[in-house]
C-alpha cells in the first residue's frame, strides 16, 4: 500500500541515521557492496546446507523453502527495549491470570468485562481444563507477542500468540549468521545476547515440572514429525536444550506417567514441550483419528503427573475477538493500565461495527478471529474490487468470525538490495518465557520483514523474510 504519510523509518530520517543505527550506518557506508552481496549469497547457501528450511502447506510435500534473511539488522535502543519488556511482561502475566480465571471461577465473565459468549463460542476453550490448575498457574509458558511500530514512541501489540509461537530458532540462527559474517560489527557495537535462550527455556520448563517430580525433571519436545512446517525448529530446540525430540508413537502411558521408548526401556517424562495442536494431543479426549498425540495423556495431565507446555486450552486467548478486550483484561487482573497499546479493533459481531467495516473495506485489514499465519485475511488497500466484494459476502454470512483493523502505517527498516538500502515494512516478535519462578524475555526477538516494496504482509508463509534484531547495551 502507499500511505499518504511517509512511514516511520527506524534507521534513516531526513537528518541522518537515528540514534541506535548511527554506528551501523557509519560501518555500512565503508562497505563494498559487492562484498556484501556475496556475503548475502553465502548466508543463503549456509541456511540451505544447514537445512534451516520450512515446509509450506498446500505445496508439494518435498518442497522446502528458505526464509530469506536480510543482512541489515533491526536495532533497538535499550530504552526502547525496556518499555517493550515491561509491556510484554505485564501482558503475559495478565494472559495467564485470564486463562486461570476462565477455567476456574470466571470472575471476569461475572464482572461482565468480557462477554460470556466469547468463551462459550470459542472452539479453543476446552471443558477438560475446567477446575484444573497447572503447576504455578502457568498456562502459556512460551509466548511470542507480535508488535508493530508506527512512530518514535508508538508500539502496538498486533497478536499475542500464547498458544504455540514459532520462529525463535530464526532469532538464534540469524544472530549466529551475523556473528559469522560480520564479527567486526559486534566488537564495535555492544549488542545484548540472545544465545542464552535455549538454556533459559530448559530452566523455565524444568521449573514448571509437576510438584511431585523427584530429581532433575526430564524434559522432551513433542513434534508432529519431519513433515511439519516447523520441524526444523523443533529439532533445533531439542538439540540446543539437550533433550529428546519425541513423536506421539514414541510415547505411552506407563504406571500413570507418560514415558518415552528408549533403547533401554521406557523412561518417564516430566515436562512435555509440545508443538502439536490441542486437537491432536490425545485421541481419547480430542480428535479420535489423531496419530500425532498420546492416548491417555490428558488423564495423566489432570492427575498432575506431567506438565504440558503450553497448557491445553491456551488458544482461547489467541482469539482475535478476545484480543480486542486485552486492555480491559490487563486492567482487570493487574489494576494497571496496559503499557502496550492494542491496535484499534472492530468486532464485526457488533452490527454497528459491521456496517462501518463493510463501508470501509478498502481501507481495513480484516482477519478471521481464529486465523493465523496470514491465511484467510483481507488487506483492503491492496485487494482488487472483486476480492473486496467476495470478502464482503463472507463477512455478511458470518460476521462473528471476523474482526477488522485499520491498516497501520508500519515502520520500515532498510533491506539490502542490488540497488543499495531500500525501506521495507517490519514487525517484531519477542519471545517470553513464563514459569512459576517468573517471566524472562530475550532481548530482541524475531524481526519479520515484507520483502516486496510497500507490502505489509510479513508472514514467512506469504513470502516474508527475517532480520537479526539487536538490542543495544546501555
Amino acid at each position: 500500500m502507499t500511505s499518504a504519510k511517509q512511514p516511520f523509518d527506524e534507521m534513516l530520517t531526513p537528518d541522518g541515521a537515528r540514534g541506535p543505527y548511527r554506528g551501523y550506518e557509519r560501518w555500512f557506508a565503508q562497505q563494498d557492496t559487492t562484498r556484501l552481496a556475496r556475503k548475502s549469497d553465502e548466508a543463503e547457501a549456509f541456511f540451505r546446507r544447514t537445512g534451516i528450511t520450512f515446509n509450506v502447506y498446500g505445496q508439494d510435500a518435498a518442497e522446502e523453502r528458505l526464509i530469506p534473511f536480510d543482512l541489515v539488522p533491526r536495532i533497538l535502543s535499550s530504552r526502547e527495549w525496556t518499555k517493550l519488556h515491561k509491556g510484554i511482561e505485564q501482558r503475559v502475566r495478565s494472559i495467564n491470570a485470564f486463562l486461570y480465571d476462565i477455567y476456574n471461577r470466571q470472575e471476569i465473565l461475572r464482572a461482565r468485562v468480557v462477554p460470556r459468549d466469547l468463551i462459550a463460542n470459542n472452539d479453543a476453550f476446552l471443558p477438560q481444563m475446567i477446575d484444573f490448575c497447572p503447576p504455578g498457574g502457568v498456562y502459556t509458558h512460551i509466548v511470542g507477542t507480535d508488535i508493530v511500530r508506527t512512530g518514535e514512541d508508538e508500539f502496538f501489540v498486533l497478536e499475542d500468540n500464547a498458544r504455540t509461537p514459532s520462529g525463535v530458532s530464526y532469532m538464534l540462527e540469524n544472530r549466529e549468521t551475523m556473528l559469522q559474517m560480520f564479527p567486526e560489527l559486534f566488537s564495535k557495537t555492544r549488542v545484548q545476547r540472545v544465545s542464552d535462550y535455549p538454556k533459559s527455556l530448559r530452566r523455565s520448563l524444568e521449573a514448571s515440572a509437576p510438584p511431585g517430580c523427584e530429581g532433575r525433571p526430564c524434559v522432551a519436545v513433542l513434534t508432529p514429525g519431519i513433515h511439519n512446517s516447523a520441524y526444523y525448529e523443533h529439532s533445533f530446540l531439542a538439540d540446543q536444550m539437550g533433550v529428546e525430540l519425541v513423536e506421539g508413537h514414541d510415547l505411552r502411558v506407563v504406571d500413570g506417567h507418560i514415558a518415552m521408548r528408549t533403547t533401554r526401556g521406557y523412561k518417564v517424562i516430566d515436562v512435555l514441550y509440545r508443538r502439536v495442536d490441542d486437537d491432536f494431543l490425545d485421541p481419547l479426549t480430542f480428535n479420535p483419528v489423531s496419530m500425532l498425540g498420546v492416548p491417555g495423556i490428558m488423564d495423566v495431565y489432570r492427575a498432575g503427573n506431567i506438565t504440558i507446555t503450553n497448557a491445553p486450552g491456551t488458544g482461547v486467548s489467541d482469539d482475535k475477538a478476545i484480543y480486542s478486550y486485552m486492555p480491559d483484561i490487563v486492567q482487570f487482573y493487574t489494576g494497571e493500565k496496559a503499557i502496550l497499546k492494542n491496535v484499534e479493533t472492530h468486532r464485526c459481531s457488533d452490527p454497528q461495527s459491521l456496517k462501518y467495516v463493510l463501508d470501509n473495506l478498502a481501507d481495513l485489514v480484516v482477519k478471521e478471529v481464529h486465523g493465523s499465519g496470514g491465511y484467510g485475511m483481507l488487506v483492503g488497500p491492496t485487494a482488487s474490487k472483486a476480492e473486496i466484494a467476495a470478502f464482503a459476502e463472507k463477512l455478511k454470512k458470518r460476521p462473528g468470525n471476523y474482526i477488522a483493523q485499520p491498516t497501520l502505517s508500519l515502520s520500515t527498516v532498510p533491506i539490502f538490495t542490488d540497488a543499495g538500502l531500500s525501506p521495507r515494512h517490519v514487525d517484531l516478535r519477542p519471545f517470553a518465557l513464563v514459569s512459576p519462578n517468573g517471566v524472562e524475555i530475550t532481548p530482541g526477538g524475531l524481526t519479520r520483514v515484507a520483502l516486496t516494496e510497500g507490502s505489509l504482509v510479513v508472514n514467512s508463509s506469504q513470502g516474508g523474510g527475517t532480520k537479526d534484531t539487536w538490542v543495544l547495551e546501555d
Binding site: 546446507r49 537445512g51 519431519i226 538439540d239 525430540l245 521408548r261 528408549t262 533403547t263 533401554r264
Partner: protein
C-alpha cells in the same frame, strides 16, 4: 536414547551404504559393458539381480539395455534401492535423528541429498556417467569422514556402524552369490575368458580389483578370490571384516548398557560361521548354500537388533 532414534541412525547408514554399493555395481557393470560389449546384457542383468531389483525392473523393461539399467539404478522412483530413493530415505532418517548427529554429519548428508537431487534430475547421459558415479563415491567418503572425525564413540555411533555393516554383509554376500558358479573350483574353466570377466566384475563391485592384485600377487584363481571376499579380515568389504565389526559394535553396546541380548548370541553364531574357516570347507558345505544362509542370518540379526533396542513400539 530413543528407540526411534537408534532405528533412524541404523537405517540412515544402511541406506547410505546401499547408495554407495549401487553406485559401485553400476560402475562395474558400465566398465564391462564398455570393454566387452557382447557380455553387456547378461552383465547388466546380474547387476540388477544383485541389487535385488529384478522383479521391479522386469515389470518395467523387457531388455537389459545399458541406459535403461543405469537409469533404473540411479533414479527410478519405483526402484526402492535406486541411489536417489535411498539417498532421500537416508536424509529423511537424518532429519529424524538430527539431534543425535554432529553438524558435520548432518550437513554432509544434507549436502549429499541436495547434490544428488540436482545431478539426477534428468537421466544421466553416458558421457556424464563417470563424473556422476565419482560424485556419489566422494559424497559417501564425505559422510563417512564426518562420522569418523566428529562423532562421539557412544551408542549413537554403534547404531550407525551396525547399519553400515549389516547392509554391507548382505551386499557382499549377494555379490558373490550371484556369480558363485564362476568361483567354484572347476579345473576346466580356470583362466577362461568368461571367468576372467566374472571375476573382474566381482572384484570391481567391491572396489577390490586393485587390492586383490597385491594380496594375490597377480595370481587370479577362483578359490583365492572367494577366500579374499569371504575370509580375509583385512579387506573392509569381506564377510569376515563386516561380521567382525558387527560383533564389535554390539559388544560396545553391551558394555554401555550392561546387558547382552539375543542379537549378541546371533551375531556370535554368524561370526563363528566365518572366522577361522577354511575356504575348501566352505566349498564342501556348498558355496551357494553358505552364502544364502549368511544372507538369511544377517537379515534375521538385523530384525533382532531392531527388536532388542526397541526401534519401533
Amino acid at each position: 536414547m530413543l528407540g526411534k532414534t537408534a532405528g533412524g541412525l541404523y537405517w540412515m547408514f544402511r541406506f547410505l551404504e546401499r547408495a554407495e554399493n549401487t553406485a559401485r555395481l553400476i560402475e562395474a557393470g558400465f566398465r564391462i559393458a564398455l570393454t566387452r560389449s557382447t557380455d553387456a546384457q547378461s552383465e547388466w542383468k546380474s547387476v540388477i539381480v544383485t541389487s535385488a531389483a529384478q522383479m521391479a525392473y522386469e515389470a518395467k523393461h523387457d531388455s537389459y539395455d545399458s541406459a535403461q539399467v543405469t537409469d533404473f539404478l540411479l533414479r527410478a522412483p519405483d526402484n526402492p534401492s535406486s541411489v536417489l530413493t535411498v539417498t532421500k530415505l537416508a536424509r529423511d532418517n537424518a532429519r529424524l535423528v538430527r539431534t543425535a548427529l554432529t553438524t558435520e554429519v548432518w550437513s554432509a548428508v544434507n549436502e549429499t541429498w541436495m547434490l544428488f537431487h540436482e545431478l539426477l534430475k534428468e537421466p544421466v547421459p553416458e558421457t556424464d556417467l563417470p563424473e556422476v558415479l565419482t560424485a556419489i563415491r566422494q559424497q559417501s567418503a564425505l559422510v563417512r569422514g564426518a562420522l569418523h572425525g566428529t562423532m562421539l564413540r557412544n551408542d549413537i555411533y554403534d547404531f550407525c556402524r551396525l547399519g553400515t555393516f549389516i547392509e554391507r554383509t548382505d551386499n557382499t554376500a549377494r555379490i558373490i552369490d550371484v556369480k558363485y558358479h564362476s568361483l567354484l573350483p572347476s579345473p576346466s574353466h580356470v583362466g577362461s575368458r568368461i571367468d576372467n570377466v566374472q571375476w573382474e566384475t566381482i572384484l570391481r563391485s567391491v572396489s577390490a580389483h586393485r587390492s586383490f592384485r597385491w594380496v594375490a600377487e597377480g595370481e587370479f584363481a577362483a578359490a583365492s578370490i572367494a577366500s579374499f571376499l569371504i575370509l580375509d579380515g583385512r579387506m573392509p568389504r569381506s564377510l569376515s571384516f563386516c561380521t567382525g565389526q558387527i560383533v564389535e559394535n554390539l559388544g560396545h553396546l553391551a558394555d554401555d548398557y550392561g546387558d547382552r541380548t539375543d542379537a549378541h548370541k546371533m551375531a556370535d553364531t554368524l561370526r563363528a560361521r566365518i572366522k577361522g574357516r577354511d575356504i575348501s570347507a566352505i566349498f564342501d558345505e556348498g558355496l551357494h548354500e553358505f552364502l544364502s544362509s549368511i544372507q538369511r542370518d544377517t537379515n534375521a540379526l538385523g530384525a533382532q537388533i531392531e527388536q532388542d533396542y526397541r526401534f519401533i513400539g
